[in-house]
Symmetry: C2
Subunit: 376 residues, 2 copies
DNA sequence: GATCTCTCTGCAAACCTTTGCATTGAAGTA
DNA sequence: TACTTCAATGCAAAGGTTTGCAGAGAGATC
């Protein structure tokens, strides 16, 4: 029933190798033959069997996309962009969800390693050393985590946090809180580091609350804690938590932004839909997905995984590209931030007015922070 | 470099066929041998090459998941549930996004057909006849569309629409509008049919506005139209459109629910986060994902796609299961619906009080509407 | 002790494609 | 005409696994 290369060969009166070349090396076959073969293939509805092809070429033309939580609205735009980009380059994408579980991540990489040409690890929760170890098993590109020696796509949340803190300080806030994200999150650490430094520079205090699950429930659960902390502004690990916090504060009768200002991170689509609309640090998730796929495929074409005659050829001079790409973030000011208790008064230390919101760079136009080629 | 079955065979001193059986038919191999082989495999980090396995068995252990729009929050829970269910059964999931485009759907099914054991078509936009045609190429399970002769997973939006209309009528609304979904959507037609009938039964008028893109923008764009329609209640194709409508009405200064009541469909997570919180018809998306995968895999194990000796064996008695599963929906009443202009007055026709909100059946406990086995 | 049964293992073909090498035949050159 | 060159095609091996069949023992039965 399934039509194979042999059927096409028979129909068009040539050898199967000619049919094969018609698809994979068209310049090697006579134009007349080529059109005849293509016509027959079209007629019969022939599609090359990718499993057979993979078996001999060593490339599956599949990539794996490992996601902490598909239901977290941060990820769908990334998945969508990655899938689209991959498809343009004739790759298909396995999507797998780990439920924020480090062990599941590891198992998934193992399970996928043999049947994909590379894996995109998005916001991994496992340890750096484990990631490095796994990267020896299958080409890896990491999103939202910085690892020396591995290709990474990062969003400049540090800059985002700085902008957010400066925005809040400029509004007259001195007592701030950071609603931290999950343990093991690079973004959360980065946020904490940058926000802490920015707060210090602005003469403000920053209380860290967490770690917390990066969900609406995680934010909701800390509303009471936030109120008790006596702060007038909160920067949340992500929009989901910020929105949960908004809900929680609303339930406690705390008005936003009159009593407490709230800033999120990500700019997921619903952050425009809450009341008040959420001020947030927009992260270029779609661009990250596209870029990560590009880097993975680039890496993939670099190392010729030649299976043919594998026994004798020693893997010498295999090169790994370890470019790290940092994508710009942008503070989007909406209605969840307002004047703080020190509004109008002179701020101790730091410049008078913080810089305005950051303009995002051309979308999809990444800024390469570091790029080098290392022989391994 | 990649460790194959041959390496394991050598290490454990048995033939490769014994190693193979250790994994795919353990009962055929001596327990002692088995543990030794497993130990060696573990040691070497052996994972069977699924491409090679697929080549001979004819099963890839992959399934395709074709989604109209990953970024539409309706889908991620479905994707997540489907992926999880598939993985439990040792299947991996290709996810592909069609951007609501019928042509993309067709091309995607073709591209995937040869490298998956089956395809889940979620909320397809293409024609019934095309779906039927494609179903001869690869086992298909369709979600959110009813097709005779094909396995379908449906959500009872008809019942949902009825509940919603009765709820609105019970609140004293007589002039209602339906914000229709995209052309080609079975759900939209079904909604229209059921809502129309329910409105008639309740002595209310129903104006249909649309078709519209099933997005927030689609709802937003029709706010003016809705106001001009002079209705006091609107049922939207989905929550996203309802939320867009909420925004649009807010911008026009129309108060919800005081002036216009709004009901959505889906109960996506953000419908609890809008102000006012959205009244909506909850659809069991996760259960749908799980069920669809189960049906696909069931179908898959039914038809033995034996490749061995393919030339001579004629495909006789191939059976196709065409069970159709209908999942219950539930009206969730929140704050976007309120008393209408005829509140308190006696309603013409129909029973006095509509039934209360529907309780959802046990989650994941589908009600089989029709199940039969057809020889083809 | 011969025969039968049964469990376990090995052998080898098959799945579909790619690709290095060999072959063919025509065109170009001396 | 005899030779080289080159484009186009065919040949066959290889890739990693599964599986029908057959063979080798061991144990049971008479």
């Amino acid at each position: 029933m399934p039509v194979t290369i042999r059927d096409v060969a028979r129909a068009s009166g040539v050898h199967i190798s000619t049919v094969s070349r018609t698809f994979s090396a068209p310049h090697l076959v006579n134009p007349e033959t080529r059109v005849r073969v293509l016509a027959c293939a079209e007629d019969l509805g022939y599609r090359p069997n990718r499993a057979a092809r993979a078996l001999i070429t060593g490339r599956t033309h599949n990539i794996g996309l490992i996601i902490a939580d598909i239901a977290n609205p941060f990820f769908p735009p990334l998945i969508k962009a990655a899938e689209s980009q991959a498809r343009h380059r004739d790759y298909h994408v396995f999507v797998a969800d780990t439920n924020e579980d480090a062990a599941a991540e590891e198992e998934l990489v193992h399970a996928l390693a043999k049947q994909v040409d590379g894996v995109l690890l998005c916001s991994p929760r496992m340890s750096n050393s484990l990631i490095e170890q796994l990267s020896r098993e299958v080409p890896l590109v990491v999103v939202n985590r910085q690892l020396a020696g591995l290709p990474c796509v990062l969003m400049d949340v540090g800059q985002g946090a700085r902008s957010a803190i400066e925005h809040l300080a400029g509004l007259g806030h001195r007592e701030m809180a950071l609603l931290a994200g999950p343990r093991g999150s690079w973004t959360s650490r980065e946020l904490r580091r940058a926000a802490g430094a920015a707060a210090r520079a602005a003469g403000a205090d920053l209380t860290v609350i967490g770690p917390n699950p990066p969900t609406e429930a995680g934010g909701l659960a800390q509303a009471e804690q936030v109120r008790r902390a006596g702060v007038s502004a909160v920067l949340a690990y992500n929009d989901l938590m910020a929105i949960g916090l908004l809900e929680g504060l609303d339930a406690l009768g705390v008005r936003v932004p009159q009593e407490i200002s709230v800033v999120g991170v990500d700019d997921i689509s619903l952050s425009r839909l809450t009341r008040p609309k959420l001020t947030t640090v927009a992260t270029p998730t779609a661009a990250a997905g596209r870029t990560a796929v590009d880097m993975l495929l680039q890496q993939d074409t670099d190392l010729p995984r030649t299976a043919r005659g594998g026994g004798s050829t020693v893997a010498v001079g295999v090169r790994r590209t370890t470019a790290q790409v940092m994508l710009q973030t942008e503070l989007v000011i909406r209605d969840s931030t307002g004047p703080g208790p020190y509004a109008g008064r002179e701020r101790p230390g730091a410049a008078a007015a913080g810089p305005g919101p950051h303009r995002r760079a051309d979308p999809g136009n990444p800024i390469v922070a570091a790029g080098d080629v290392v022989a391994s």
